[in-house]
C-alpha cells in the first residue's frame, strides 16, 4: 500500500556515551557543603539522671544483643533490674517518639534486659581499671552508696561499705514494697557489685568521729545515709500511740513483723511513701483512706502508682489535713480540716488555705504518717558553710587537709529524691574523687563538664573513660531533626500485670515479665536518635556512589573525591546521625 522504506539494521543509534570510566571526573571539586557521619545525643539519655545510653541500648535490644544492651546499662547504672521496676523513667517523657505516636517503653525494656541477664546467669564484661592503691569508705548501702562503690571499684579503688542494718540496700530493701521490687532482683544486683571486689559490712553503724580521724584507713568517705526518719505531723495527739511512721511500717513488713491489718487505716501524705504505705496496708487487709492536703493532681507520687492504688481500693481524700488525734476505746479519732485552693504556683501545684469551720472526724484503727523524711543524725547532712567545699549537682565534696575527703551524696543533697538520682549522685562522687586524686581539686568541675550527656546535668562513665560514646556530639537530637518518613506508627507495648484481685491478696510482683519477641518489637520502635544503625539509606541515595561500605563496625565512609555535597544522604538519614556543614574554602582554589 505505502512505499516500502528500506530497513537499515541496526537502526541509527548515536547517543552521548563515553567509552571510558568517568572516574577521572572528580565531582568532589564541585562541593561547597560537606556531609559527614556525626553521632549525636538522644534526648532520653539527657533526661536520664544516670545518663544511660538509651538509644544504643534499644538498638542492641532490637538486634537481639541482649547481653551487650544490658552491659550498656551497667556502664552507667549498677541497677537495671531495680531501675527497670522502680524508676519513674523521665527518659520516656522526653522520648522523641512521643511526638510521633507514643514514647518507647524504655523502663519495660530495661527490666526485660535485667531479667534476661538473671535468667541466663550472665556475667557482665565490665572494664576494671588497675588498682589505684587508695581506699574509700562508703557509709550507707542505699542506692547512692552502692552506686558510688560500684563506680569507684571499676575505677580501681578499694571500697568498704558500712551498713548499720543487718542487710544492704537501704531504701531499696526496707522501703520499697515487694510487689514493686522483689528481693531476688535486689540481691542479684548487690551481688554483682560485690563481684567487683566491693566489701559490704552490715550491722556496722558508723560514729561521727569516723569522719574526722587523723590516722584514717581511708582516703575518702562517701556519705549516703539517706532520709530514713519520718517527719512528724506536729499535731495534738500524735504521741497518744497508734500513730506510726509509714517508713517504719514498710520496714516492719519487710522484716516479716506484720501479717495482717484489720479495720480502717488512714495514711497522711501524697508522696510515694504514702502510696507504698497505703497499698501495703490494703494488702494486709485494711480498708485504706489516703488523706492529702492538696488535690490529687498535686500529689508528688508517681501517676501510675496512684492509679494502681485507686484500682486496689485505696480511697483518696483530697484537700483534707489532720489537725488533732484523740483515742477512743483503742481506736483513733482524727479531726480533719477542709482545705481550699487559693491559687496555683508556677508548676500548677495548688496553694491552699483552711476553710474556717469546716472540720470532720474520722474513726480509724491505724494512722500512718508519710509527709516526708529527714536524716537520722544531723551530721549526715553536708556542712552548710565552710571552706574547701565543692558543691556539684548531685554531691558535695568537703576537702579536709590531712584527713579523708568527705563526699555527701544521695538524698542528702538531691533536689529530686529518687533511686536514679541516687545512682547519679554515687557516680558523680566516684568520678569527682577519681579526678581529685589524679588531677586535683580544681580540675573536678571542668573534667566533669566534659563528661556531660548533652548539656547535662547527667554525666557518663563511658565518656569519662574515653569510650566510643565520647566521640558523640553533645548536641541533642530533636524530633524535627529526624526524617520521620521512615517510621511507621506502632502502638507501645502494654505492660502485662497481675489482675487487681490477684494483686491485693499478696505482695507478689505486679508487673509481669515480657518475652523477647515483644521486647524486640518495642525496641524496634526506638528511633535511635542520633545514632547510625547501619540502615544504609545514605549509601542507597547517594547519586555519586560516594558512600563506601567498609569492613569495620562504623560501616561506611564518604569518598570526598566524588561527594558533590548535595546533602541527600543527610536528609535521608532517618536518625540524624549525619551532619551537613559548610565546606571550608581554605586550600581550595
Amino acid at each position: 500500500m505505502a512505499s516500502q522504506q528500506p530497513l537499515t539494521n541496526p537502526i541509527p543509534l548515536l547517543i552521548p556515551c563515553s567509552h571510558l570510566t568517568t572516574e577521572g571526573n572528580k565531582t568532589g571539586s564541585w562541593r561547597f557543603l560537606r556531609p559527614h557521619y556525626e553521632e549525636k545525643t538522644s534526648p532520653c539519655s539527657v533526661a536520664c539522671p544516670a545518663g544511660e545510653d538509651i538509644s544504643r541500648i534499644e538498638m542492641l535490644t532490637a538486634e537481639g544483643f541482649f547481653k551487650e544492651a544490658w552491659e550498656t546499662i551497667l556502664m552507667e547504672n549498677p541497677f537495671p533490674g531495680v531501675g527497670g521496676r522502680v524508676c519513674y523513667h523521665p527518659c520516656e517523657q522526653s522520648c522523641n517518639r512521643g511526638e510521633f505516636d507514643e514514647p518507647v517503653a524504655i523502663h519495660t525494656l530495661e527490666r526485660f534486659l535485667a531479667d534476661t541477664a538473671i535468667r541466663y546467669d550472665l556475667k557482665p564484661a565490665l572494664e576494671k581499671l588497675p588498682a589505684r592503691n587508695k581506699r574509700i569508705a562508703v557509709v550507707g548501702s542505699g542506692p547512692s552508696g552502692l552506686a558510688a562503690a560500684f563506680f569507684l571499684a571499676r575505677l580501681g579503688y578499694e571500697v568498704d561499705v558500712f551498713e548499720a542494718q543487718s542487710e544492704p540496700g537501704g531504701v531499696l530493701r526496707w522501703a520499697i514494697p515487694l510487689y514493686r521490687l522483689p528481693l531476688s532482683i535486689l540481691n542479684q544486683e548487690i551481688a554483682q557489685i560485690r563481684e567487683l571486689g566491693v566489701r559490704i559490712h552490715c550491722g556496722k553503724p558508723i560514729p561521727q568521729q569516723f569522719l574526722r580521724e587523723q590516722q584514717s584507713d581511708y582516703d575518702a568517705i562517701f556519705l549516703g545515709c539517706g532520709h530514713s526518719r519520718g517527719i512528724p505531723l506536729k499535731i495534738f495527739g500524735e504521741d497518744l500511740g497508734g500513730t506510726e511512721d509509714g517508713l517504719q511500717f514498710l520496714q516492719r513488713i519487710r522484716r516479716g513483723e506484720i501479717f495482717s491489718l484489720q479495720g480502717t487505716a488512714a495514711i497522711i501524705g501524697g508522696g510515694n511513701t504514702a502510696i507504698d504505705t497505703a497499698r501495703s496496708a490494703a494488702r494486709l487487709g485494711a480498708k485504706v483512706i489516703l488523706i492529702y492536703r492538696r488535690r490529687r493532681q498535686d500529689m508528688p507520687a508517681f501517676h501510675d502508682e496512684i492509679e494502681m492504688a485507686l484500682e486496689e481500693g485505696v480511697e483518696i481524700w483530697e484537700l483534707q489535713t489532720p489537725v488533732k488525734i484523740s483515742s477512743q476505746n483503742g481506736d483513733l479519732i482524727v479531726t480533719l480540716q477542709q482545705m481550699r485552693v487559693t491559687s496555683e504556683d508556677q508548676q500548677g501545684r495548688a496553694r491552699i488555705k483552711p476553710v474556717p469551720g469546716k472540720k470532720k472526724e474520722i474513726l480509724v484503727q491505724h494512722l500512718f504518717t508519710a509527709i516526708g523524711a529527714s536524716t537520722e543524725e544531723q551530721w549526715y547532712d553536708p556542712p552548710k558553710k565552710g571552706t574547701d567545699i565543692l558543691r556539684l549537682s548531685n554531691c558535695t565534696l568537703v576537702y579536709q587537709s590531712g584527713r579523708p575527703v568527705l563526699v555527701y551524696g544521695g538524698d542528702l543533697v538531691a533536689d529530686t529524691k529518687s533511686v536514679v538520682h541516687a545512682v547519679a549522685s554515687g557516680k558523680q562522687a566516684a568520678l569527682a574523687l577519681d579526678t581529685l586524686f589524679g588531677e586535683g581539686l580544681d580540675a573536678i568541675s571542668s573534667k566533669l563538664q566534659t563528661c556531660l550527656v548533652g548539656k547535662g546535668p547527667s554525666i557518663s562513665m563511658e565518656i569519662f573513660l574515653g569510650g566510643v560514646r565520647s566521640q558523640r556530639k553533645h548536641r541533642m537530637v530533636r524530633y524535627e531533626d529526624l526524617n520521620s518518613d521512615y517510621f511507621q506508627f506502632a502502638p507501645v507495648i502494654s505492660q502485662p500485670r497481675l489482675l487487681r484481685e490477684e494483686r491485693i491478696q499478696s505482695f507478689a510482683e505486679i508487673n509481669l515479665k515480657v518475652g523477647a519477641s515483644l521486647a524486640i518489637r518495642e525496641a524496634e520502635r526506638c528511633f535511635n536518635c542520633g545514632l547510625c544503625n547501619q540502615c544504609d539509606n545514605c549509601q542507597l541515595f547517594c547519586p555519586e556512589v560516594a558512600v563506601i561500605r567498609d569492613n569495620n563496625p562504623r560501616g561506611r565512609h564518604i569518598n570526598y573525591d566524588y561527594c558533590k555535597g548535595c546533602g541527600v544522604c543527610v536528609v535521608e538519614c532517618p536518625r540524624n546521625a549525619m551532619t551537613l556543614e559548610e565546606e571550608l574554602l581554605c586550600g581550595k582554589s
Binding site: 505505502a2 537499515t8 541509527p12 547517543i15 556515551c17
Partner: protein, 389 residues
C-alpha cells in the same frame, strides 16, 4: 482465548504477555485499572517483574529510564495531568533512545476538572520523540501494546499506546487474549544494544555540545523514518501468528469517495456505522482512520486522499489560537500537492462529550454542501451559554 475484558485490562494482559520486567506508575483516573491489575500480577507472581511504587509520574518515568538503561523491558501508564508532569522525562526517554512503552489514556486537561476523554494531553507531547499509536477498540489495544515492544526495541525509541478514556478504557468487549507461546514467538526477549555494565564503566547521556548534538537529533529522525516500513513488516509477522492486523492507517471505501472523513480512536467505530448508512443512501463517502500519528504517515495520507474533493477531519482535541491538531497535520501533508482536496476541520467531543452518529452525519452534510471551508475549524454541537462569569 476470547474473553470479555475492559480496554484497560487489554493493556494489562498484553503487558503480562510481553514479559515486562520493570513497571513503575502513579495512579490516575482513567488509567488506574491498567496498573492496578499489573500490580496484582507482580504481587501474586503471575508476572516475574518489579513494580516500583513512586510518588509522582515524573518519578515513574525517571525510574523506567534507569531500568531501561540497565537493559530491561519496561512499561508505565498515565493520563492527562500525569502525562503532563512526565513531560521533561518524555524528551529524556527518546533522547536516551530507551524503548519504554507507555499506555496513555486520553483524558481532558484541567481546569475545569474533567476525567473524560480528549486527545489534547497526548497531542501536547507530539514533539517529545515518542511514537504515538491511537487505538479504536479493545482488540486493537491488546495487539498494539504487544507490538509496541517490538517497535520500541527495534527503533530504540519509546512508544505510546493511546486509548480513549472510558469509551475504550472502561468498556468491556470480547478480546482474543493470545497464549504465551504465540506471544513469545512474536516478541523474543529484549536484546539491548547498550546497557549499564560494571565491567565496562561508561557514562550515558552526558554533555553533547553543538558539534555533535545535531547529529544525535538527526539520528532520532533517521530511526523514525524507518518506523513505518518496519511497522508493516511487523504487522505481517503478527498476522501470520495471530491472524489479524490493524494497519498504521485504515482506508475504508476511499477509492471512489468524494468526501473522506478522517478520524482517530473510538470515533472511528461510530463513523463506520454512519459510513454504511450514507453509502446505502448513495453518498460517495469514505473513512480514513489514522492510528500512527508519530511518525506521521504523510505519504500514505497523500496517496489515500488523492482522489477525493473534500476531507472532513474530526478532531477531539484543540490547539488554542490555531485549530484541531490532526487537521493541521493533514493540511501540512497536502499543501505542496498541485491538486489537493479541500480540508474541513471540525472540533467535536471535547471533555468526553458524545460524538453521536448524528454529529458525524451532520459533519458529512456540512462538508458536502459547502463550497469552501469557513475558517480553520468549526466547533460542532456547541450549546447556547452565557459568556459572562
Amino acid at each position: 482465548m476470547r474473553q470479555v475484558i475492559e480496554g484497560s485490562h487489554a493493556v494489562s494482559e498484553a503487558v503480562r504477555l510481553a514479559r515486562v520486567q520493570v513497571i513503575s506508575a502513579y495512579p490516575i483516573t482513567p488509567q488506574t485499572h491498567i496498573v492496578e491489575r499489573l500490580s496484582e500480577y507482580c504481587a501474586n507472581g503471575t508476572m516475574n517483574a518489579r513494580f516500583l511504587r513512586v510518588e509522582s509520574e515524573h518519578s515513574a518515568m525517571a525510574a523506567l529510564i534507569g531500568a531501561a538503561t540497565n537493559g530491561v523491558r519496561t512499561f508505565t501508564a498515565s493520563s492527562s495531568q500525569g502525562l503532563a508532569l512526565m513531560h521533561e522525562l518524555l524528551h529524556w526517554a527518546s533522547g536516551a533512545r530507551l524503548p519504554i512503552v507507555m499506555a496513555e489514556v486520553n483524558r481532558a486537561m484541567a481546569p475545569g476538572w474533567n476525567i473524560w476523554t480528549e486527545q489534547t494531553d497526548s497531542l501536547a507531547q507530539r514533539d517529545t520523540g515518542w511514537v504515538q499509536l491511537y487505538c479504536e477498540h479493545g482488540q486493537e489495544v491488546l495487539d498494539t501494546t504487544i507490538q509496541a515492544f517490538r517497535l520500541a526495541e527495534w527503533l530504540n525509541l519509546p512508544v505510546m499506546v493511546i486509548l480513549d478514556a472510558f469509551f475504550l478504557s472502561h468498556t468491556y468487549e470480547p478480546v482474543d487474549v493470545p497464549d504465551q507461546d504465540s506471544v513469545d514467538r512474536f516478541l523474543p526477549p529484549y536484546q539491548p544494544r547498550f546497557q549499564l555494565d560494571l565491567e565496562n564503566p561508561c557514562a550515558f547521556n552526558q554533555l553533547a555540545p553543538p558539534n555533535v548534538y545535531m547529529e544525535m537529533r538527526h539520528n532520532i529522525q533517521m530511526a523514525m523514518d524507518t518506523a513505518l516500513g518496519f511497522f508493516e513488516q511487523m504487522e505481517e509477522e503478527f498476522e501470520n501468528i495471530f491472524g489479524r492486523r490493524h494497519g498504521a492507517l485504515e482506508a475504508i471505501q476511499c477509492q471512489d469517495a468524494e468526501v473522506i472523513m478522517i478520524t482517530t480512536g473510538t470515533v472511528t467505530s461510530t463513523s463506520r456505522q454512519v459510513l454504511t448508512e450514507l453509502r446505502q443512501k448513495g453518498e460517495k463517502v469514505g473513512l480514513l482512520k489514522i492510528k500512527l500519528f508519530r511518525p506521521f504517515p504523510a505519504n500514505m495520507i497523500r496517496e489515500l486522499t488523492a482522489s477525493a474533493a473534500k476531507i472532513a477531519v474530526i478532531d477531539r482535541n484543540f490547539s488554542f489560537g490555531a485549530s484541531g491538531i490532526f487537521a493541521q497535520e493533514i493540511k501540512a501533508a497536502l499543501c505542496n500537492l498541485e491538486t489537493r482536496p479541500l480540508v474541513y476541520g471540525y472540533v467535536a467531543g471535547l471533555g468526553g462529550r458524545d460524538i453521536t452518529p448524528e454529529v458525524i452525519e451532520d459533519i458529512y452534510w456540512r462538508t458536502k454542501n459547502s463550497t469552501a471551508p469557513k475558517g480553520d475549524s468549526l466547533w460542532v454541537g456547541l450549546h447556547e451559554v452565557s459568556h459572562e462569569l
